[in-house]
Symmetry: C2
Subunit: 265 residues, 2 copies
């Protein structure tokens, strides 16, 4: 069964379509104005360390909400949601190995599972577009280029690894505006971590991203780098916890929060 | 007669020392935390055009207050001040020629004179220093380097000319922070107008500023450019109105407003 994407205009509509198996695709562009979130589910023991890791690295790992152990409802952001059914598709990991990619995780739910909702750059990209800034990868219809850096995250328990950044090229005046706009959204990575000199981050070739697709940086543009939500995902994969569930790439949880609610002003 | 600079801790103390001829020096570093302002005084006819020029070019010409014609008191910012006596030193201009540099302009005051107080970058530099950012020209004890650009201001009546910018070099992460900090202060030029590529502004040699002193831009640093309060002064000099009074360079009006009152958040 499938549903017209154009009818999925709210977080509730997307979640309902997921829950009733009418939708299992990517969420980019759905429910405009509603904040989307990355999902990480861990057992309580690892969750404690992961929570500490996020707290120590808020720019790549901005936690929007953490559920109580065993409760699949994110009560603050989306009180009527069930994280076991309300995403389009999940990935299930055992000791770092992908074992299943289901559209529901009800059959896997246990009383000691804790879910993390982590802010997503869709929110600030929507604000940049609203402000008239040209976002290169969106204009080209590709994924944002992402790079592992030589900047280590602060580690916590089994979780450690390098900061991963996303890159968007801008003319200088637009870069200044982009810094101001994204700085209003600390809950979704906030202002950039760097601009101008990729080699200062240990990035030697912008045309060879580690994740996503390359985009051109034109003469007179500055490459601008934001902390990226792929950081906690790569850290998670490298830590290889016995059991973990994440969203499937691009298949995010759509909250009831409006993007603008995540702004500090 | 002279007074210990260290005793001039408030706007009121500086103004009192000026008014009583105990102080006629530069105001940089005096009355920490109090906003200082550039002064431009014109006859009513030219003042109307100058007001329009400032309104059209708010980044280089952020007007803090305009007095009523004939009234030398800036009632909003500093109700007990007298702009005829409360600055350390003035410059008097006739048809673009400097004719006098007095410590009081009481003898020149007329009923058709209008005074403009224009925001000054001292305010945002104080905020940058408070945030721990290294401000190169202050560390070196020289004036900020300033450059005429190839960017024309919007003209109004007799007033037209290029945007003048000041330059402060920063490492990329500090440049991002500097953009965020100064963006909070639209009343004192706000966020930068450019960073990274001086040639995009028509600046061919950073070591040859048009005003102020050169400062080194080190490897791995970005030159960051802010709209500069010298813009309205150069425009004024080029317009050559029959009569004008300004502050003498570095001898600003110290208001009762605290720097923080000029922040938008």
């Amino acid at each position: 069964m499938s549903i017209d994407r154009a009818s999925l205009l709210t977080g509730a509509a997307v979640r309902e379509a997921c829950r009733t198996d009418q939708f299992s695709g990517q969420t980019s562009g759905l429910a405009p104005g509603f904040a989307q979130a990355n999902l990480v589910i861990l057992r309580e023991a690892e969750a404690a360390h992961f929570r500490e890791f996020c707290a120590k690295n808020p720019k790549p790992c901005p936690v929007l909400e953490v559920t109580e152990a065993g409760n699949p409802c994110p009560r603050q952001s989306t009180p009527d949601a069930d994280l076991r059914t309300d995403l389009p598709r999940y990935r299930v990991w055992e000791s770092g190995e992908l074992v299943e990619e289901p559209t529901s995780i009800s059959h896997l739910w246990q009383d000691d599972l804790v879910a993390f909702l982590i802010g997503c750059s869709f929110t600030f990209e929507a604000e940049m577009i609203r402000a008239g800034l040209p976002v290169r990868h969106i204009e080209l219809g590709v994924n944002v280029p992402m790079y592992r850096t030589n900047v280590p995250c602060e580690s916590a328990g089994i979780f450690s690894g390098p900061l991963v950044v996303s890159m968007r090229p801008f003319l200088p005046a637009d870069a200044i505006r982009a810094i101001q706009i994204t700085g209003r959204f600390p809950a979704v990575h906030g202002e950039p971590v760097h601009l101008g000199f990729p080699d200062q981050l240990g990035i030697t070739d912008l045309s060879q991203p580690d994740f996503g697709d390359p985009v051109p940086v034109h003469e007179g543009e500055l490459p601008v780098f934001w902390a990226c939500g792929v950081t906690p995902q790569t850290v998670l994969m490298e830590a290889k916890p016995e059991f973990a569930i994440t969203h499937s790439p691009g298949c995010m949880f759509v909250t009831d929060w409006k993007d603008e609610q995540l702004a500090t002003q």
